[in-house]
């Protein structure tokens, strides 16, 4: 065995998106020697793709906004399944986190009086999303990246070494966490470029690895989204919650095939874009659910007035929460009123002057022009649902991001609870900052409180290494090709555990996944460990299969429809189910899902809602209690 490269840190952050970078900044500012590991280059994590904005009740555009209103919107969006404490912390702290970005050098679009401008988005009562055109994620990640660099410059001035306190390891994949007696002791992985193995010894690990979308065929997510953090947590003994809730964004590109799934930002609708079917009808008026009737306009005239006079009109139904809009599009297409390529029409060209479209939605204009030959200032776009975000993730303590495994923390998309059954647009970027910071602090406090550092045993490391090289020795008989297995997995998840679900299909999915797991054990790859995409995929596959199993098993158990979990066979929401969480753990090589009671909402937070609204979500005895 060639020499193993070793590093030692106080806090190890896996992931360099918004959550990871914010966590790393916090840990470094707590005096911890901190490392950030990421699969792609520094500054290119998935967060860079976020478009619409970051939600924070700063009240810059409508001064009626405050944390209570944001909290209410978040809970409504998640159909009250959210972890209320997370939703509370998020609503309260998001403005500070956004303002802090300005001190890192971020330049948001401005209001007339020079404050940060805020735009409308689905499910948010007031204009609330701070933004930079439609490239907010880029601004967020660049600002954090530049803050990291500025801290490194401070360290250089003091120690002569940029990396003495905060170091980024890019194009590096973690394959396993190393434990010592049930506590985190480090992480094992490989350089993507050379395939060389590295052991990071660290008493605390913050998972900030993002989502799982690459298990689905049509997705807005990139290759990074293989659910690594979810799987690492499971294998380390932590639990995942809410895995049945997967958000399908209503508007992804549908044509040409090679761009199918790429996101069309919700800002198109926030800024006036409307959805039409092949009859030219604005169909969303037919899909306003009972619980939202008093908030959404039931006619075009009122909906159109809302853009200029939101105080006296209800909002257009195009701005309903994402799950509602995605289902509506799905129904229209099924009913034969779809577009040529199986989507519906999203039109902003007849709604705003070309100039205004270019100013507000420059990257959408660019994207359609370059990739589909469509000029959105003159033509409608064809759009359809695409797998976008996973609400489920590592169960954490809201205040510190700690999982049930000592030394293991999680923040961002990989953590669960904050968004309940459905995330509102813009609430992810704010989530990353609020809980990234908290997890960084939580990990630092944990390390500071340790009397002895855990140790990575040689056996544990050897085991991790054996797992990582297994695909090269693969079984001789019928070795499987990782690309084929991946395609089959994506197809199965798309068809059987997709946007509309039913028991028989999910049972099939579980079977299919079992079979894929068996076949994956015999995966073979050719060549050597130097930059070998086939090998990388073989290792990612193991994570995708595990996480997909969580999604399928949990979805099968939840016999109701709520947020990002819609069942044909149980089409309505059931208040009894609101009180239950489905908790996934790993037992042997299988996923186990058990029901656990949901933490009841603190009374003073419940009081923020009208009794009549709570009646739609809570059971009779909860309402009395």
């Amino acid at each position: 065995m060639p020499e193993l490269e070793r590093h030692s840190f106080d806090v190890l952050v896996i992931g360099a998106g918004g959550a990871g970078l914010r966590a790393a900044i916090e840990a470094r500012e707590h005096g911890m020697r901190t490392a950030v590991l990421c699969k792609s280059l520094f500054g290119k994590a998935h967060t860079v793709m976020a478009e619409g904005g970051i939600a924070a009740a700063m009240g810059n555009v409508n001064s009626n906004d405050n944390w209570q209103v944001h909290f209410r919107d978040t809970m409504r969006g998640g159909k009250f399944l959210n972890n209320w404490r997370m939703a509370e912390l998020h609503a309260k702290e998001a403005p500070d986190r956004v303002w802090e970005l300005e001190t890192y050098g971020a330049l948001f679009d401005r209001t007339k009086d020079g404050r940060i401008s805020q735009r409308n988005f689905g499910g948010h009562e007031y204009p609330r999303l701070a933004h930079v055109g439609d490239r907010t994620g880029l601004e967020l990640i660049r600002s954090l990246q530049q803050k990291v660099v500025s801290l490194q410059q401070d360290d250089f001035a003091e120690t002569g070494d940029y990396e003495s306190r905060l170091r980024v390891f890019q194009e590096f994949t973690v394959t396993d966490l190393v434990l010592d007696d049930g506590r985190v002791a480090g992480a094992f992985g490989y350089w993507r470029e050379s395939g060389r193995f590295v052991l990071f010894e660290a008493p605390a690990v913050v998972l900030a690895t993002g989502g799982i979308g690459k298990s689905f065929k049509v997705t807005s997510n990139s290759w990074e989204y293989t659910g690594d953090g979810h799987a690492l947590a499971l294998r380390a003994g932590a639990s995942l919650i809410n895995m049945e809730f997967v958000q399908f964004h209503p508007t992804g590109m549908v044509w040409p095939p090679s761009v199918k799934g790429i996101l069309v930002t919700e800002s198109v609708r926030g800024d006036g874009g409307v959805l039409r079917n092949s009859d030219g009808k604005r169909f969303m008026f037919d899909y306003i659910p009972e619980v939202f009737k008093d908030k959404y306009a039931d006619n075009e005239a009122e909906a159109d007035r809302w853009y200029t006079d939101p105080g006296n009109n209800r909002r257009p139904p195009e701005l309903l929460p994402r799950d509602e809009v995605a289902r509506a599009i799905n129904s229209e297409v099924k009913a034969g009123r779809g577009s040529e390529h199986g989507g519906v029409f999203l039109d902003v060209s007849t709604r705003l002057p070309a100039e205004e479209i270019m100013r507000r939605l420059p990257s959408m204009h660019h994207q359609f022009k370059e990739l589909a030959d469509v000029d959105i200032t003159a033509q409608p776009m064809e759009v359809g649902p695409t797998c976008h975000y996973v609400m489920g993730g590592v169960r954490v303590d809201p205040d510190t991001g700690a999982s049930s495994v000592p030394g293991l923390f999680a923040a961002g998309e990989v953590s669960g609870g904050m968004h309940g059954s459905n995330r509102l647009g813009g609430n992810s970027l704010s989530d990353l900052l609020v809980f990234g910071r908290r997890a960084g602090a939580g990990a630092s406090d944990y390390v500071a409180g340790l009397s002895a550092r855990p140790v990575c045993s040689d056996e544990a490391v050897a085991e991790a290494e054996r797992t990582a090289v297994a695909p090269f020795s693969g079984s001789d008989a019928g070795g499987e090709n990782p690309y084929t297995l991946h395609m089959e997995l994506q197809q199965a998840m798309n068809d059987l555990v997709g946007i509309i679900r039913r028991a028989e299909e999910m049972e099939q999915a579980v079977e299919r996944l079992e079979e894929l797991k068996r076949r994956a054990a015999t995966v073979v790859v050719e060549g050597h460990r130097q930059f070998n995409p086939g090998w990388h995929l073989a290792l990612d596959l193991r994570n995708m299969l595990l996480v997909s199993e969580c999604v399928a098993r949990a979805a099968l158990l939840r016999t109701e429809s709520r947020g990002g979990h819609t069942r044909d066979d149980y089409p309505s929401m059931d208040a009894e189910w609101r009180r239950k969480l489905l908790v996934c753990t790993l037992s042997g090589s299988s996923v186990e899902v058990v029901e656990e009671p949901q933490v009841p909402i603190r009374p003073d937070l419940l009081e923020l809602f009208e009794h009549s609204e709570l009646q739609k979500y809570l059971t009779a005895d909860e309402l009395e209690g």
Partner: protein, 249 residues
């Protein structure tokens, strides 16, 4: 609809390599990156290529297509004739790691050498006030996706390894301009741009602007104004000592 396309892809490592020919299926609406992926999945499982978003947003997939610096994910196959051979090579200015993947660490080193944003003293977070017209100039530069195609193209370093030490490249000279035009930044980097970051080596050929996938007017809006400022300060000691440049107030 689909056809068999001719591709010539550079394969090799730091030790050397060469162009290899492939015939591969091309379908309607595809971009060059799709075809590279098809090669990976069907013919060359270990072909190295860097990518991430596949939507022109992350700046990972930079390479040279028929000699032109471009993003692989934003170059549509429809711009080529069906019988045309499409040649894909790695960026030339940076050392090859393998196949289409280059070592872009030069860029990260240069990024570190530019003094960071210096927040205004005495202005609490949340109290920042800036007008849209004032932030727009820096916002243009902040559209940068760090694809490094401009740095790859600039002749100052493209075939001149020796200049890399003293030249930050258009990307990071633009970063200096961005910070200098930030309405609230309190540092001054103008002299440094000339003395440490090699602004003087730029002879405004605009090649960087031409390849920028974000259509940022790097030369006109960042480099030339900076050069003017440097010149102003040389000739006019009052301006030199005076206020921060570009500031409207």
């Amino acid at each position: 609809m689909g056809y068999q396309g001719h591709f010539r892809v550079w394969r090799g490592s730091a030790e050397g390599g060469g162009l290899e020919d492939f015939t591969v299926e091309v379908n309607e609406g595809e971009v060059v990156l799709d075809v590279i992926h098809r090669l990976q999945a069907t013919q060359t499982p270990d072909l190295a290529v860097r990518w991430n978003c596949k939507a022109g947003k992350c700046g990972s997939c930079s390479a040279e297509i028929n000699g032109k610096p471009r993003l692989l994910c934003m170059t549509r196959m429809s711009v080529f004739a069906e019988d045309e051979t499409v040649t894909v090579t790695p960026m030339r200015t940076f050392p090859v790691i393998r196949d289409l993947v280059t070592d872009v660490s030069y860029n990260y080193r240069k990024a570190r050498e530019i003094p960071a944003f210096k927040p205004p003293e005495g202005v609490a977070p949340g109290e920042y006030r800036m007008q849209q017209v004032d932030v727009e100039r820096s916002q243009e530069f902040r559209k940068c996706i760090e694809c490094f195609l401009c740095n790859n193209t600039c002749h100052v370093i493209r075939d001149h390894e020796e200049n890399k030490e003293s030249f930050a490249g258009p990307r990071f000279l633009m970063r200096v301009a961005e910070l200098e035009m930030h309405p609230l930044d309190e540092a001054d980097r103008v002299q440094q741009a000339q003395s440490s970051h090699g602004l003087g080596l730029c002879n405004i050929t605009k090649c960087c602007t031409e390849v920028c996938p974000e259509h940022i007017k790097i030369t006109d809006n960042a480099l030339i104004p900076m050069k003017e400022r440097v010149a102003d300060r040389r000739y006019d000691p009052i301006v030199w000592l005076g206020n921060k440049l570009f500031r409207r107030s």
